[in-house]
Symmetry: D2
Subunit: 313 residues, 4 copies
Amino acid sequence: MTLEKAVGVYVIAPTPFFPDATIDFVSIDRLVDAYRAAGATGLTVLGMMGEAAKLEVAEAEAVAERYIKRAEGLPVVVGVSAPGFASMRSLSRRAMDLGAAGVMIAPPPSLRTDDQIVGYYRNAVEAIGDDIPFVIQDFPLALGVVMTPEVIRRIVMDNPSCSMLKHEDWPGLEKISVLREYENRGSMRPISILCGNGGLFLDFEMSRGADGAMTGYAFPEMLVDVVNYARAGDFEAAHDIFDAHLPLVRYEQQPGVGLAVRKYVMKRRGLITSDTQRAPGGKLSSKAIDEIELLLRRLAIRDPRAVVAASAR
Amino acid sequence: MTLEKAVGVYVIAPTPFFPDATIDFVSIDRLVDAYRAAGATGLTVLGMMGEAAKLEVAEAEAVAERYIKRAEGLPVVVGVSAPGFASMRSLSRRAMDLGAAGVMIAPPPSLRTDDQIVGYYRNAVEAIGDDIPFVIQDFPLALGVVMTPEVIRRIVMDNPSCSMLKHEDWPGLEKISVLREYENRGSMRPISILCGNGGLFLDFEMSRGADGAMTGYAFPEMLVDVVNYARAGDFEAAHDIFDAHLPLVRYEQQPGVGLAVRKYVMKRRGLITSDTQRAPGGKLSSKAIDEIELLLRRLAIRDPRAVVAASAR
Amino acid sequence: MTLEKAVGVYVIAPTPFFPDATIDFVSIDRLVDAYRAAGATGLTVLGMMGEAAKLEVAEAEAVAERYIKRAEGLPVVVGVSAPGFASMRSLSRRAMDLGAAGVMIAPPPSLRTDDQIVGYYRNAVEAIGDDIPFVIQDFPLALGVVMTPEVIRRIVMDNPSCSMLKHEDWPGLEKISVLREYENRGSMRPISILCGNGGLFLDFEMSRGADGAMTGYAFPEMLVDVVNYARAGDFEAAHDIFDAHLPLVRYEQQPGVGLAVRKYVMKRRGLITSDTQRAPGGKLSSKAIDEIELLLRRLAIRDPRAVVAASAR
Amino acid sequence: MTLEKAVGVYVIAPTPFFPDATIDFVSIDRLVDAYRAAGATGLTVLGMMGEAAKLEVAEAEAVAERYIKRAEGLPVVVGVSAPGFASMRSLSRRAMDLGAAGVMIAPPPSLRTDDQIVGYYRNAVEAIGDDIPFVIQDFPLALGVVMTPEVIRRIVMDNPSCSMLKHEDWPGLEKISVLREYENRGSMRPISILCGNGGLFLDFEMSRGADGAMTGYAFPEMLVDVVNYARAGDFEAAHDIFDAHLPLVRYEQQPGVGLAVRKYVMKRRGLITSDTQRAPGGKLSSKAIDEIELLLRRLAIRDPRAVVAASAR
C-alpha cells in the first residue's frame, strides 16, 4: 500500500529510554506490539515527540531500524527534519534502505512567505531524491510556519513524491475541508491527510474528511476507535469514546510537559520500562502525577481498557 | 472589596455589535444581567476577546461606562493594554473615574528578558499612577512574552498596586503552585489569581490553589460551578460538570475562531442580538455551525441548562 | 502632485518633546523649515521614529496638524498604523481633512501568509476608504512580516489608492529591481518607491531604481545629495557623500537607541530644543555621547555642513 | 594560551565548496595561510557562516580536522551548536580530540526567560563535560534570544569552563561596558570578549573594552588593523582604516546574502576556488556583483591591499 492512500492511525511513537538515558530497545518491541494490538495501521518514529533531536545520528538510525524491523507489515514513517539537507538526505536514504514507507519533513521556523515554504520542500526533495514518499508536517503552533491550503496544494502538485499531510494546524478544521474540496474539484492530487495535535480535534477532523490520525496519545485505542467509528459513519459513537478520553487528551497535550505525561501513562500501562526523557525534558511534579492518576481513575469508569494497576509509586 | 482578595468568576465580557458593526449597548445590559444570574463575582471588559483593539477611544470608554453602570455592585476590570503609555494612562484614569475596580495590562510582544518585563510594568505604573489597582495578564501563547514565577513576584513586590494575576500561561499548573508557595513562605504579597485560557484547565487550576476564573466561556454557569465546587472541596463534582462541558470548551478555545464560536452560542442563548465581530474576525462556516450545534445538543444531555431552542438559522 | 509620482526625500520627522514629555510644537516649525532648506520634497510624520504609539489620539492629531500647516506646499504623509481599523479610519480621515497627502500603513506583526498580508491591506482600505492615497510600509526587521515582491504587486493592483512603497526590507536591493521590472513589463502599476532603513543602503537603492528616500537621518542634507546625484546619474558623487556619512548613519541605525542618537544630533544642530523621548525610550550613556561627538568631529572634516558648535554638555 | 585570555582576531572561517557542493579542502589550507598572514590570532570554524548546519556529521568533523591541522599554533574554536545535546557532546569531544582550543555554543531560538538561558548552558556543560572551554554566542538578531549582561554573568560564574563571549548583540556597545564593569568590580570572572556582527561596530567595540573580533569579513586585514590600533591606543588610526572599509562591511553584513558577498570577494582575492554555497544559500545577481566590484574599486583607492585583479567573470 502506498502512503497517499493511508487511512487509520499512524501512531507517533516515542523513543523509550532507560533511567540512564540510554535507549531501551526492548520497550520499542513492546510498544510496536501494543500499537498493533490497538489497531494502529502504521507508525511514525523520530518525530518531535520521539525526541529525535536528542539522538545522535547512529542512535536515530538504530531506533528507526528497530521500529521498522518489529513493525513488519505495518508501514513506518521516519521523521527526517534536520537543520540542513545533507543530514536530511543521509537519514532519508538510510531509512528507506531499512524499509521505511516514507519520511516526514517539517519546515524550519525561519520560513515566512508562501514561496519560501514551497521552495523549501522543492529543495528538500532535490536533496533526498524524488523517489522517497514524504509527509508534510504542518504544525504552526510549534514551528511558527503557517501554510495556506494553497501552499499545500502547490507542494503536492510540484512534488509527485508528496504523499501525505500530517495536519496539525490549529485551528485547522476548515483547512481539511478546503483541501478535500481541492481534491474533489480535481485541482489537487489526492493525498492522505492524517491529523495530529494530540488528537484534540480528531472527532471533527474525521467528519471534515480526514483519513485518520497521526499522533501519539497514551491510549491509541481511543484514536483507533474514533477513526473507525467515523469511517463507518457512526459519529455519535466516535464522539462518545472521544469525549470520555478528552480530559486526559487535553492534559497530555500541554506543550513542554505533554511528553512527560504520555510517557508516564505508558509506563503505568506497562508499555515502556521507564518514562525517562533526555534533557531538556519536562518533569512531572507530585501534584501533576496526582492529577494524572485522578484522570486515569475517572477515565477507567468510562473506558474499562483504561484500568491500570494501582500505582506503586 | 479589593481586587487582591477577589475570588470566583470574573467573566471576560465581549463587546456586542449589531450587524452593521455599531455597538449594541442593549445587549451589554442583557449580558451583565445574565452574568450576574450565572453567579459571576466580577466582569472584565475591553480585553482581547472584547475586541478592544478594534474600538476607537470614545467607543472603548462608552463600552466600559455601560458595563460599569449596569454591573453596579459587581467589580469591573477594564483592559487598558495599549501600544503607548499615554493612551494607557488616559483610558485608565477614565475607567477609574467611571467606577472600575481596576485595570488589566498585557505586556507588549516585543519584551524578552526578565528585566524588560519587570521594567515595563514599572513604567506602566508610573504612567497610570500607583493608585490604580492593576491586573497582570500573563498570556504567552497569544503574546509571546514568558514570565517566570520570579518575574511575577518581582512585579508584585515592586508595585503595591498590583492586585491580581490573570493566569493564562500554557502549561501553567506548576506556576500556580509556585506562586502560592511564594505566598505561603511570605516571599510574595498575596494577590488574587484568576485563570484564563478559556477555562481549559480550570478543574486543576482550582486544585492548585487558584482563586477562580477570569475567562469567557459561553456558559459561565459552568465556570461558576467548577469554582464553587472546588472552593467547597468537592473536586469530583467540579470535574463532573467540567468534563461535561469540555468538548465545547475545547472547541471554543480555538485561536482565531474562538470568539466567533462564543458569540454564536451567546446569540443562540439569546444573550446578544448578533454575533457580529468587527474586522478582522473569524467567520464560521456552515460546517462549523453544524459542529457547534452538535456539541450543544450533546451538552444539553449532560447539563440541562445548555438546552437552547432549535436553531432557526 | 500625486504620491505615486513622488521623488526625492520624504523625511521621517520625529515628534519633539520638552524635558517634561509635553509636545514641543515650536520645534516642529523649526524642523519643517530645516527640512525644506535641506531640500526635502516631502515629510512623513507619526511613524515609528515619530513615537506615534506614545501619543494620545488628540496629541497625534495635533502633531499632524502642526506639521501639515507649516509644511505648506510640501506633501505630508501621516502614519496611521493602529491595532484596529476603527482608530486607523478616524486618524486617516482626520489627517486628510487637515491636508495630508496620504497615509502610511504598516502590517501588524501577527500576519504570516501572503493572503493574510494582502487581505489586511484590503480590509484597511475598506476601513479608511478607497479615496485616501496610502503607503505600504515594508519593514520586516521591525515588524516580522515578510512581503514578497508578488505580494506587493497584489496590494498595488488590488487597491488603486496604493501610491507608494516605503521600502525597508533588509536585504532589499533585489526587491527594488524586481518591482521595477514588474513595472517595466507592465504587470504592476507604477508607484513611488522611497527607501528607509535609516538610509544604510541608499547609495545602491538609488542605482536599483528607487525614487528616493523616506527615512530620518540627522543630516537629511546627505539623503538629498545622494538622491539628487543619483537621479542626475552621478553615482560616484553619490557614493562620496554617502561614504562620508556612513559611520554616523550606521551608528544612528542601531535598533532601540537609534532615535536617541538622532534626537541628540538634532539638538546639537539646534533643530530641536530637547532630545527627550517619551518612555520607553533609548538612553545615551556618556560613552555613547562621546562616540557621537567623535563621529560628528570626523564627519565635519569630510562634510563642512556637519560642523556643530562645541558641545556645552 | 587559554581562551579566556584571547585577544586579537579569531576569524570566522567559511566552509569552501566546489561547484558540485563537495568540500574543497585545499581552499581550507589556503584560507588558513591567508588568515595567518593577515594577522589572525585564532580561527572559528563550523559557525553559522561556516554553513555548519548543511554538513553531515562526518563532513563537519573533517572540516574541523583540516582547519585544526593546518592552523598549527593558532587556536581553533569549533562551533558545536546542535538541536540536541547528544550531537553537541559527540562533536565537542571529537573536536577537542582533534586539537581544538574550545567550542562555541549558541542558544536555541526557543529560549525566552533568563532562567531558561542559564539552564540551557548548564545542561550543555553537563552534556559536553566541564573540561571543555566554551564560548557563548550572543546573537539576538539571528537567534531571537536576548541575554542581559546579568544572564551572561550567571553563565560565566556558574560554569568555570566558560571562557569567552562572542558578542554580537545589536545594539551592543553598552553591554560590553557593563560586562567590563562587572569584571572591574570583581563580580564576574574575566573572560575574553570578541565581537561579531560582521565587524559593523568594531571601531567602538574596541574602545568599549572588547578584546578583539570574532567575525568573518572578506578582508580580515582590516579587522586586525582596527584591533591592533585600538589596543595600542591609536583610535584615530583605527577609525581611519575602519571607515575606509565600512561601505563594503555594511554590504557584506546583509542577512541572507552576506555570505554570498563574502565568498565572492574571497574568490576574487584567490582565497577560495569557488564561491559555491550549499542550498539553501543566497545568490548574487549580476547587479549585486556590479555593486561589489564598485565597492572593491572604491576601497582599493583607500586601502591598496584591496586591489584585486580585474574580474574575468
